[in-house]
């Protein structure tokens, strides 16, 4: 794939290295030459220094033939502008932007941009770890579904997964046991020290938390 990454911060540089190691043709754009140093010596893609929403710079980066554009500068508005240029002017098939502001995320998701926003996700994860140490949630912010990690109380040992799942509300997808991960069948039983990783409907989260708290 021809992939352009705009913004060579921590996320951008890491992503560029990952994708180029996997054999993709990666070009990374940043307006600050110093940021490109984050790539280290092993990056074998192309680097371009220049304004992240200048059409000439983006053309130089090969946007006209790009299969995907990822926009991860530290400016939300820059990311909004650049991803819209990629989508609406150059019709790039896959465009992903990262935003910090949850409100702008909501507005531009409604307008059809593909946005990843870590802010709400990280905040709710930290909150969960602080307040309810047995749970931590990773919420996918739009679709009403989330992933929840649960450290069940000891009393749950011996229970079958099929008894924990709730139709259309909660499903145990993985069990972390020591340093292994198991994809459970309905008959798999929970052991002491297991961590359950489940898929949950956002509105069912309180119910699930209560289930594991009260019964434990």
């Amino acid at each position: 794939m021809n992939i352009i990454i705009v913004g060579c911060g921590r996320v951008g540089s890491k992503l560029a290295l990952l994708l180029s190691q996997e054999g993709n043709n990666v070009t990374i754009v940043d307006d600050n030459p110093a940021s490109l140093r984050r790539l280290g010596g092993t990056f074998n893609g192309a680097t371009i220094i220049g304004n992240c929403f200048d059409l000439e710079i983006l053309k130089k980066a090969g946007i006209e033939a790009a299969d995907a554009v990822v926009v991860v500068t530290n400016g939300d508005n820059t990311n909004i502008m650049t991803s819209q240029i990629a989508r609406q002017i150059y019709r790039v098939p896959k465009v992903i932007a990262r935003l910090y502001d949850p409100l702008r995320t909501e507005i531009y998701q409604r307008l059809g941009l593909d946005i990843i926003s870590g802010t709400t996700l990280v905040a709710s994860m930290i909150r969960d770890k602080l307040v309810e140490s047995a749970f931590s949630g990773y919420f996918i912010e739009t679709s009403g579904m989330g992933i929840i990690e649960i450290d069940p109380p000891r009393a749950f040992a011996g229970r079958m997964v099929s008894h924990l799942n709730i139709d259309n509300e909660f499903l145990v997808a993985t069990i972390r046991r020591g340093d292994r991960a198991i994809i459970p069948s309905p008959a798999t039983t929970v052991e002491v020290g297991d961590t359950l990783i489940g898929i949950v409907r956002t509105e069912s989260v309180p119910k699930i938390k209560q289930l594991f708290a009260v019964e434990g």
């Binding site: 304004n51 929403f53 200048d54 059409l55 000439e56 400016g75 939300d76 508005n77 820059t78 909004i80 502008m81 819209q84 240029i85 609406q88 002017i89 502001d101 409100l103 702008r104 507005i107 409604r110 307008l111």
Partner: protein, 220 residues
């Protein structure tokens, strides 16, 4: 009209002053608290909101949903774009105007939904160029992404148009003489108006008709 201006720099302040003086209802959203206080003290009759206009809550506070026009004049083109887009999509504002700081962004802002991107840099450059120009024809203003221009031409003694009346002149298609400036007089031209040496013509033309008019004016 109710006009919401975002960005309290030189352009923003000068704009709200004018609009308020013309009797419009005006609100200003500005990030810098000290600037807000200075403006609120100076211009009494406008609403000043301290906040980042890219955040919907400040647009809301400034009354965006009732605004007839939202004008974004910050020094960052990406901010101006986002302000106009949020005004349109979240507050159903009908008309948005954005200052374009880098001329290379004018096309982009227009394509991404700003109703009127105003390329301030190019406008100033054109005006300065026009002042420097020794040419008989110069561009005063380009509108609609350059599809139409207001140009100024001077009648020299050797111009084929000197001493010609307008009805004798075969004007190119899509080109009109809008006004004739003669010394201190402004003439609204008629068929029997005769052009004299030193007359300045204000002409509205498309890029093609501008070229034809240049030939007509200079005989070249």
């Amino acid at each position: 009209m109710f006009i919401l201006v975002c960005g309290g720099g030189h352009v923003g302040v000068s704009l709200v002053n004018r609009l308020a003086a013309e009797g419009h209802k005006v609100a200003l959203v500005e990030k810098d608290k000290a600037v807000c206080e200075a403006i609120a003290g100076e211009i009494g009759e406008i609403i000043v909101i301290h906040g980042d206009a890219c955040e919907p809550r400040f647009l809301d506070e400034a009354g965006a949903e009732n605004a007839d026009v939202v004008v974004a004049v910050t020094n960052h083109d990406e901010d101006n774009l986002v302000i106009c887009q949020i005004a349109k999509t979240s507050f159903a504002v009908r008309r948005t105007v954005a200052k374009v700081n880098d001329p290379r962004n004018e096309y982009t802002l227009g394509r991404l939904g700003v109703d009127t991107p105003v390329d301030a840099t190019t406008l100033i450059a054109q005006m300065i160029n026009q002042e420097l120009s020794l040419d008989e024809l110069s561009t005063l203003l380009k509108l609609r992404q350059g599809r139409i221009s207001v140009i100024q031409g001077t009648i020299s003694a050797r111009s084929p148009l000197c001493n010609a009346s307008l009805k004798e002149i075969e004007m190119p298609d899509k080109c009109i003489i809008a006004s004739v400036l003669r010394k201190d007089d402004i003439l609204v031209p008629r068929g029997d108006t005769t052009l004299e040496m030193g007359d300045q013509l204000l002409v509205i033309a498309t890029p093609e008709s501008e070229k034809q008019f240049r030939k007509l004016l200079t005989g070249g």
